[in-house]
Every structure is written in structure tokens, then in C-alpha cells.
Symmetry: C2
Subunit: 239 residues, 2 copies
Amino acid sequence: MTVQNNEIIACDECKNGGCMIKFCHVDWLAFANEKKTQKLFRKGQHVFLEGNPVFGVFFIQQGKVKVTASNFNGKKQIVRLAGDGHILGHRGYTGETYPIDAFTLEDSCICFFDNQTLYDLFMENPMFSFEMMMFYSKELRKSEQRNKFFAQMTVEEKIIFTLLYMESTFGINALDKAINVTLSRQEIAEIAGTNAEQVSRTITSLNEKGFIRLVGKKILIMDAEGLKKKITRYRIGLL
Amino acid sequence: MTVQNNEIIACDECKNGGCMIKFCHVDWLAFANEKKTQKLFRKGQHVFLEGNPVFGVFFIQQGKVKVTASNFNGKKQIVRLAGDGHILGHRGYTGETYPIDAFTLEDSCICFFDNQTLYDLFMENPMFSFEMMMFYSKELRKSEQRNKFFAQMTVEEKIIFTLLYMESTFGINALDKAINVTLSRQEIAEIAGTNAEQVSRTITSLNEKGFIRLVGKKILIMDAEGLKKKITRYRIGLL
DNA sequence: AATACAACCTGTCTTTTTGCAGAAATTTTT
DNA sequence: AAAAATTTCTGCAAAAAGACAGGTTGTATT
């Protein structure tokens, strides 16, 4: 199922079960629905760019997004992948700007709630605040785990980890059993923190050994257990 | 000023301005105070260990803590340093256990609030929930930044970054201008994601070049600007 | 002061990773 | 269908990082 057109979907009719706005009381849900804006982003568009002022928070109704940060070299790093029901950005302080970029990986329908609306919701909907807090707290733990892994893993391990991360974030295509996202070698390198050559080498080798299978642009995980075993010296809490 | 004894300090008399419990209404603050437990941890003690069940959240009233994660190799990684007013852990789900260890770096006075108490506070104190959410959201961004840096930096850059991180977390001693924490080469390596030998070499070299000065166990940052310039090809948003 | 213990420093060797360059394959454009 | 452009793959040399080992310094204890 892909995003079709720019038709607005009301919050109480939204089929995205993971959206946390749903934790608001019914009348506040209507309020949220009134205040929100919704937009269809085509593949490769930016949702926001580094330096843009933070006016509110984006909720992904349906789609795939990469959050990237670049340094003065121009070297990019993908710091997070986000899918249906995930949040982009955070409620900002006055004058705050994004330290990161967000780009769609495919056509995506994304809702936006401004700072004031969110504040109103937070003040009157404790369950909503609670779930949002738990979301950030969980993402923080995941990020810390990744921090640890990436500080200690070899390049091959990082790439395996990245493939499993891609799978756990976007899932498997029911039809062809491939990872439900297509990233270039360069993009995979930007997640794993290495270069496209290493990714190419490693993926080829994993393919030859039967751990994965390459079908065109698609990557199929053939032996998830075997891959996990290769990085088992790290406790895998988040896969 | 160091922690002296195990005398309990009531929340409304606590001098730690950064503690978020203060965002509760006065009567709820009294409730929190009644429910909390407070304990003096001696240097090197664990606050909690990996695998321990998560019953609540720790608030550091005064002290210094390292949060570490280890893998099956026995290799350790310090994933966060925490000081006065910082939170340790998160509100857990039933049956959840910690994926990390927390150890005190010096004598520390730490308050504990159990899950039910926190839940009650969250439901009735929107400002408290809001601030907690903002805290986690900010820590998440910091962690993502670190993620990016560490994925791309050389060993020397990571060590410089670590020294600046130590300084920004614990500050500078007013008397001798040294970084307000003493970590072994091994511990610094566990933050930077390298080994003690590299840390030793790098620190010696930075000392010779005048960027830092080593006085006994203490490390003095002599040329913060020079150090930052060495890693300026990365946007430094969190120092 | 002597001893023991731990932390720290430094040289050497080995392994891993990177960066470059060109070939091969794939996709897009004409 | 051919040409052009982009992406991916692979070999090789250089650089970076890691592991090991011996020596030094510092601290605590007796």
C-alpha cells in the first residue's frame, strides 16, 4: 500500500494504529485534527532541513524517512530511520532550529502539529504526554545501544547490524520477502558509518556465503539467525 | 562540596535547582517527598546493574555517575555521564529489566521514585510530564549527535571530543581549573570507544603540544578553542 | 624505606580500514 | 537500440588502529 493522493485523513479515521495522538481524549482529538496540517511528500523531498526553525512536530502517517546529519566535510551520516507512526523532530523552544535534515525515502503522508497545539494537548491529556515521554525515552535507549555497538563493532559487524536495523524498522515485503526499503550502498554506508566500497565488499561476501541474497536492488535476509550470531558478542537489545 | 552523610533532604528544601520533580504542584511535591527514598552511594558502587528489574527512576541530587554497557567479550562502553539533576533509567514496563549498568564515580546522593508514584505524578502534573518529556527528547538529540560524531571521527578526534564532553558534563574546578572529574585512561577509552593505549598516546601528545596540561591525575584544558578547531569539521551542537 | 599493586607510557608488529582507480554492471536518456 | 550516466564491484597501496609486551611511575600498605 502506497500513498495515493493528497486527500486529508481525519485523526479519528486514521488507520495508523501507532500514532500517539490517539491517546488524547475524544474531544481533544477533534481539536488536534482541526489544528493539524497534512501533506504528501514525494520521494526524496526534505521534510525539514538543518537550520530551519522548529515550529512543531511531524508525525509520519504513512511512509519512510531518513534523518541525516552532515559535517563540514560534506560527509553525511544517517542517524535514524523512521516509518509509520514515528515522530520527526521534537517540540522546540522559541528560536530553536533543527540540527539535522529529514528526507523521505518514498512518497510519504506526514501530519504536522505546531508547538502551541502540542502544548495544549500535553497540558490536558496526561496519557498522551505519558506515551510521548515513553517514546522519547525508548528511542534514547535505542540510540545509546547503537552508540555502544558502533563504538566497538568492526566494519562487517556494523554493516550486518545496519541490515538488521533496516529490516526491524521497515519490515519484510510479504511478496518477495525482501527488506521493505531500498537504500543505495552509499546510504547504507551512511548508516553504518563507513564507505560505499566496504558496504559493497561486505554485502557481496554475505551474499556468497548465503546469509543474504541480492535480487536487483532488493536485499533478502536468508539467515537472520546466522547474521545475529555473527554479532552476538554484543547483546542485541533492540533488534 | 561533597556529599557528607546519609541525612535525608526533603524535596522542598533541596538545593538542586535542576531537579524536575520541582515542576510538580506544592501538594504533589509533598506527596513525592513522602514516597521517595534517598540513599548515599559511595564511590564505585553500582546504582543498578544490567538485568535488574526496573521499579522506577533515579534522580541524582548530587554526585557523578557513569552509565555503562558491556558485551559478551567483557568489553565495556560508557554510554553516558550524568551529574547533578540528571535522571538515571526510565519508567519501566512491568517485568522490564535494565540493559545497562550505572556506577558512581564519586560519593553521590541519589533519590528514587517508584513507577506508581511517577505515574501518579505524571497524571496530575502536566508541567512535570512536559519537562520530563523535553529532557528525554534533548538527551535523545545529544545521543544522536554523539552517534554521528563517533561514526566518523578518528581516534584522536574521539578522544578530544570525550575530553570536551567530560568538561561540559561536570565542569571545571574553580580552584585548579582542571576538569571536575577523574577518570582513568581505561575509562576515557570506554567513552571514546578505543583502548587505553591510544588514550595514553593521544593525551601525551596533546599535552606536549600545549592543548591540555596534565597535573597528576588532573587534566586541564589549556586551549579549548584549539581543540574544538581540531574537530571543527564536525558541527558541534552539544558542547 | 621496602614491598606490592595498579595505572600509565611507549616501541614494535599485525590487522583492519581507508582511499583511489579502473572495470563491470545497471539504469536512464537520447 | 545505442549512448551516457550512475551505481556497484574489486584490486592494491597507504594509513590508521589495534594488540602485545616491557618498562616506568605513582600510590597505598606494611
